[in-house]
Amino acid sequence: MELTGTTTLLVALKAEAQPLIDHYKLKSARQNPFPIYANEQLKIVITGIGKCPSAAALAHTAAFFSVLPNHIWINFGIAGHKDHAIGTAVSVSKVISKSGQQTWYPNLIKLPNTLVKPLTTYDAAVDDYVDDTLCDMEAAGFMSAGSSLHIKSECLFVFKVISDNKLSDAKNITKNLVAGLVKSHISTLEALIKKAEMKVQDVRNWKLEIGSELFEKWHFTQTQKSQLREGIRRFRALDKEILWQDMELDNCATAKDVIENLNRRLQKLLPKF
């Protein structure tokens, strides 16, 4: 399915997603196995609570939808912390799986009025807030799946808003509280997405386009296609003034002639600084 876009947010709860769906005017793209809402730039996947659903939702989205190289993946949602005030935004620097004793390091972007903290993912809701880390139930699943799917660590982010602490534990969390917390941090989330996009932008920009007319005119074997691709890459890098398409190829009878013609031209080119 074509569902382009540059960023995907994975949230556990519909209550976390709804303010974002409303704000970005996202349309429902599908409901099963995970509800997905999308516009041209952004999609939101509602994963459900827990490590496994979070991991499964990331794997499903990455596998079944066409995503650009360096697509940005953000695990967003609420989390607890013993001391920090409810409503505090936190960029997560380190994710620890309590049960698996594994550790991951998501990419980190510093944002105004946002703390940086490690996070521990538990298998069940906790109310004792032992460590000086955030606690949630999804981030480790998100990071584990991202890592298994060979998503670059630079493209994985975990961003949380404190919803409970020692003074007001998880039992006090309501849909309205969650929606309010998310709403109040939409601008911070936007800043995160913008900065993340900027980081990966120039890596995405370089595309090698080979016109289909070449393949219509001559028959290239797979090896020749690879030689052609490499030749065109080199030509484009070495000669920014002449398009390779402008080369005189009419006299070429076969694909082999095209490649030889290209290589002859390349032999004469040196880097110009």
Binding site: S93, H150, L238, P271
Partner: protein, 310 residues
């Protein structure tokens, strides 16, 4: 840590958890690398590759840092490391102990090269690498220390008495090459100025024209570089000059080409024999012959060493 009061500190068990993990994007990281402080527990001092020495018998290299704050497009570190983060190993005393232990095993000169996996001096004001190592090992008679750098951070050296057995080796390229390929590195004029200050203070200075890049107007660019060297520095007092044409291990070349497919340098006509990507043998010989001859044409030329694939 006190020098970075505003930094965010993230603790980890071992630097490899971050530095060696899979699925990292060197190019993205290089835009905004982290600083990792770590201890190096083993393999601190390594035998230098055969082509690395200056016709000397006992050659070792060591790296108090991994990666470099500069972003030279030809650098093999881009292909060797998965991460672009900068690692500083803080257990200098262990490195120094290892150097001492190796030095007592022979009475012959024993060379230790720094600047293989990093720039030796680029972060010297923060790391105090030069002061720590020079004060600790330069009094050992048979020890020679080479600090390879593109940096202008020579203040710590200038505060010390010069040592005959500590050589600062400056990597130089023509200005056009620096502008195109040595991103964030000091200008040629700045490097020559730093080298001159050291020479005037009595420190042995060496030059490394490596890698030499075969570009359009190659002769004019490198001729002008040699002129600037001879104008700025006391040529006859230079410890040595090494020259080497651009080359990379095949695997590293493939990695860096994939990282920067638009880079003209990686689109030149190369050979890939014996696991190395380099200019065709005839081109490489032509480049090195011309450079060597041009340097030798200058009065009182110091010893020249060729770094090539053999």
């Amino acid at each position: 840590m006190s020098q970075f009061p505003k930094s965010t500190v993230i603790t980890c068990e071992h630097y490899g958890e971050i530095f060696n993990r899979h699925q990292q994007d060197f190019r993205i990281q290089k835009k905004d690398p982290c600083l990792i402080l770590a201890e190096k527990h083993n393999k601190r001092i390594m035998p230098a590759p055969p082509e690395y020495g200056l016709n000397t018998t006992h050659n070792y290299y060591f790296s108090h840092m991994l990666n470099c704050i500069y972003d030279c497009r030809y650098c093999f570190l881009q292909g060797m490391f998965r991460s672009a983060h900068n690692v500083i190993f803080v257990n200098y005393e262990d490195f120094i102990e290892d150097i001492r232990a190796l030095a007592v095993k022979t009475r012959e000169p024993i060379w230790f090269y720094s600047g293989y996996d990093c720039d030796s001096l680029a972060l010297d004001p923060i790391t105090e690498f030069s002061k720590s190592f020079i004060e600790a090992v330069s009094f050992i008679d048979n020890v020679f220390l080479e600090l390879r750098t593109k940096s202008t951070q020579v203040r710590k050296l200038l505060e010390m008495e010069p040592r005959d057995n500590v050589i600062c080796a400056f990597s130089l390229s023509p200005t056009a090459v620096i502008k195109a390929l040595e991103h964030q590195a000091p200008s040629l004029a700045a490097r020559l100025s730093a080298a001159k200050k050291l020479q005037l203070a009595g420190w042995p200075v060496a030059l490394r024209l490596d890698p030499i890049v075969f570009v359009e107007n190659f002769r004019a660019e490198y001729k002008f570089l040699i002129e600037q060297i001879t104008e700025q520095l006391d040529f006859k007092k230079l410890h040595s000059i090494t020259i080497g044409a651009f080359r990379l291990p095949k695997g590293f070349f493939k990695t860096v080409k994939n990282l920067y497919p638009e880079e003209p340098l990686f689109s030149s006509q190369f050979n890939s024999d014996n696991g190395q990507v380099s200019y065709e043998k005839s081109t490489e010989t032509k480049i090195l012959d011309w450079c060597e001859a041009s340097l030798k044409n200058c009065n009182d030329c110091p010893p020249i060493f060729r770094q090539s694939l053999g």
